[in-house]
């Protein structure tokens, strides 16, 4: 199976995206911003549609829309005095509707659109793999540089600001990284399912981890495991790869949740005293 070049490309793209998206997903879970990835993914349909209709490459256009939203959201949040989830409630339907309207300008069925909606990891080309690899490595390097500061700013924004961290600028960087990774994941699992790759491995890791450090190790392992099992499973069962990856990630989550629930039921009530 791995002798096929398309499987080699799919595996490489899937592993890169699975690992980096899951690490970024830990921040998404920490910041309780799961809606952000979903909104960015759906809004990027406007860029994809523009590409489909004009014949320009859709992914760079989708990246332009996603990064544009990522850069402006934090500023918009401050200027408008609306909460981030309210703004995302505007961003998601507005840009998606623009995408649908743009697509309606092109008559007939657009098969390319389906691959962006549900992903087509097996159709990743060499240039596509290069783009995914470039984005994944750049995002991983940036996370290594700003990760500690981002954790600090997430738990205690005021404390981080007092410690000399430019929290507003850091959050803009985080939103841009998230936007880039969402776009890189479009070819793997598609617009509809991209948020699953972002949230589910990190949420599963949260259920099992005993420390934040463990969560950052477990999440990419789960992301990579989901991609591997989903990809191979979809090959053997002859089913679409994107949904298969998401289902595997979901099964990991359910297993972790069941294990935790069963451990909680077995445990006796703790008799620990608290006090200063």
């Amino acid at each position: 199976m791995l002798a096929y070049p398309f499987m080699q490309r799919a595996l490489a793209a899937g592993l890169l995206v699975g690992a980096v998206t899951s690490v970024l997903g830990v921040f998404v879970v920490l910041r309780r911003s799961a809606f952000f990835g979903d909104a960015i993914a759906h809004a990027s349909l406007a860029g994809v549609a523009l590409g489909v209709v004009t014949g320009l490459p859709p992914l760079p256009l989708a990246a332009g829309v996603a990064v544009g939203i990522g850069v402006s959201l934090h500023r918009l949040e401050r200027v408008s005095r609306l909460s981030l989830d309210t703004l995302l409630g505007f961003v998601l339907p507005f840009f998606m509707a623009i995408g649908v309207l743009v697509l309606s300008l092109s008559p007939g069925f657009q098969p390319e659109l389906l691959s962006y909606l549900f992903g087509s990891i097996l159709a990743v080309s060499w240039p596509g793999l290069a783009a995914v690899a470039g984005i994944s490595v750049a995002v991983a390097v940036m996370l290594a540089v700003v990760g500690r500061r981002l954790v600090f700013a997430t738990f205690d924004p005021d404390g981080a600001q007092v410690a000399g961290i430019g929290v507003a600028r850091l959050l803009t960087v985080y939103h841009v990284l998230l936007a880039l990774m969402v776009v890189a994941s479009l070819s793997i699992v598609g617009i509809v399912l991209v948020n699953a790759l972002l949230v589910i491995p990190a949420a599963t890791a949260k259920l099992r981890a005993r420390s934040l450090g463990q969560m950052f190790v477990l999440a990419p392992l789960l992301g990579v495991g989901s991609v591997l099992l989903g990809l191979f499973g979809s090959y053997w069962l002859d089913v679409p790869s994107g949904p298969a990856i998401v289902v595997v990630a979901g099964l990991f989550f359910l297993a972790a949740w069941a294990a935790r629930a069963s451990a909680t039921l077995r445990r006796r009530p703790a008799q620990t005293g608290k006090g200063l």
């Binding site: 997430t154 738990f155 007092v162 410690a163 934040l212 463990q214 006090g275």
Partner: protein
């Protein structure tokens, strides 16, 4: 500047957008090394706003100097303990990770010795591998103080540290602050509602209700008239007969 006070606030005014009246107006005071100043005043009097201005978290008019330097240049000398953190209590963040967070990856013998020292004197060393979300109010507060102290600040600011702590815990906490001030020559600025604790542990009381209404040692400042003027005629201070606080 070695001779400069730990904190010098001069004519501090904070205005919020859309509000005609300033949140605080023309506030001036100084705080010396090794001293505890406690800000008192009713809800909405501007206590937290004053702390946030000193920390550089809100724009202000006037002058704030930390050891003679503008606050933006002195952030390494500041430690801050917020009233509460906006984090998800179900996250698997350990006390060790929370305390080390302010070190930003700094390592080395001196850093580790400081970490060990403050986690021990604040009594959280046995709790380092415990999830932060499972701590009691008092334990959490001590963990947050340790987090602020491991960077070796010279000025510590605390926003209502006694919130969510029982009565015995409040006293233990203020005793700890007293020891930090005297043993580490730390200047401490605290917001508080607990007048008895203020009386026992403050070297200087600052009465705030948008403007600074009184300032000085507790025995001089916390008079029945001053308290009634600040909180209303029904508020009084009950002074226990268990002696003066450790200074």
């Amino acid at each position: 500047m070695k001779d400069a006070p730990a904190l010098a606030v001069e004519n501090l005014t904070v205005r919020f957008e859309g509000q005609q009246r300033p949140a605080i107006e023309g506030v001036s005071f100084t705080l010396a090394e090794g001293q505890i100043a406690i800000l008192i005043g009713p809800n909405g009097s501007g206590k937290s706003t004053l702390l946030r201005a000193v920390l550089g978290l809100v724009p202000f008019e006037g002058d704030v100097k930390v050891f003679g330097k503008p606050v933006r240049e002195a952030y390494r000398q500041l430690g801050y303990v917020p009233q509460r953190l906006p984090f998800d209590l179900t996250l698997p963040l350990t006390v060790r990770e929370a305390v080390r967070m302010s070190l930003q990856g700094a390592r080395g013998g001196r850093v580790e010795a400081t970490f060990q020292h403050f986690t021990e004197i604040l009594g959280i060393a046995p709790l380092l591998d415990t999830p932060l979300g499972s701590l009691s109010g008092g334990q959490l507060k001590r963990a947050l103080i340790a987090r602020a102290m491991v960077t070796n600040p010279s000025l510590l600011l605390l926003d209502e540290p006694e919130a969510e702590i029982d009565i015995g815990g409040e006293q233990t906490l203020y005793e700890l602050l007293g020891r930090l001030a005297s043993h580490h020559h730390l200047a401490i600025l605290v917001c508080s509602h607990e007048l008895e604790l203020v009386y026992r542990y403050a070297h200087q009381v600052l009465c705030l209700n948008r403007r600074l209404l009184c300032a000085g040692p507790p025995a001089e400042v916390l008079t029945a008239g001053a308290i009634a003027g600040l909180y209303g005629p029904t508020t009084t201070l009950y002074r226990h007969a268990h002696g003066a606080p450790p200074r």
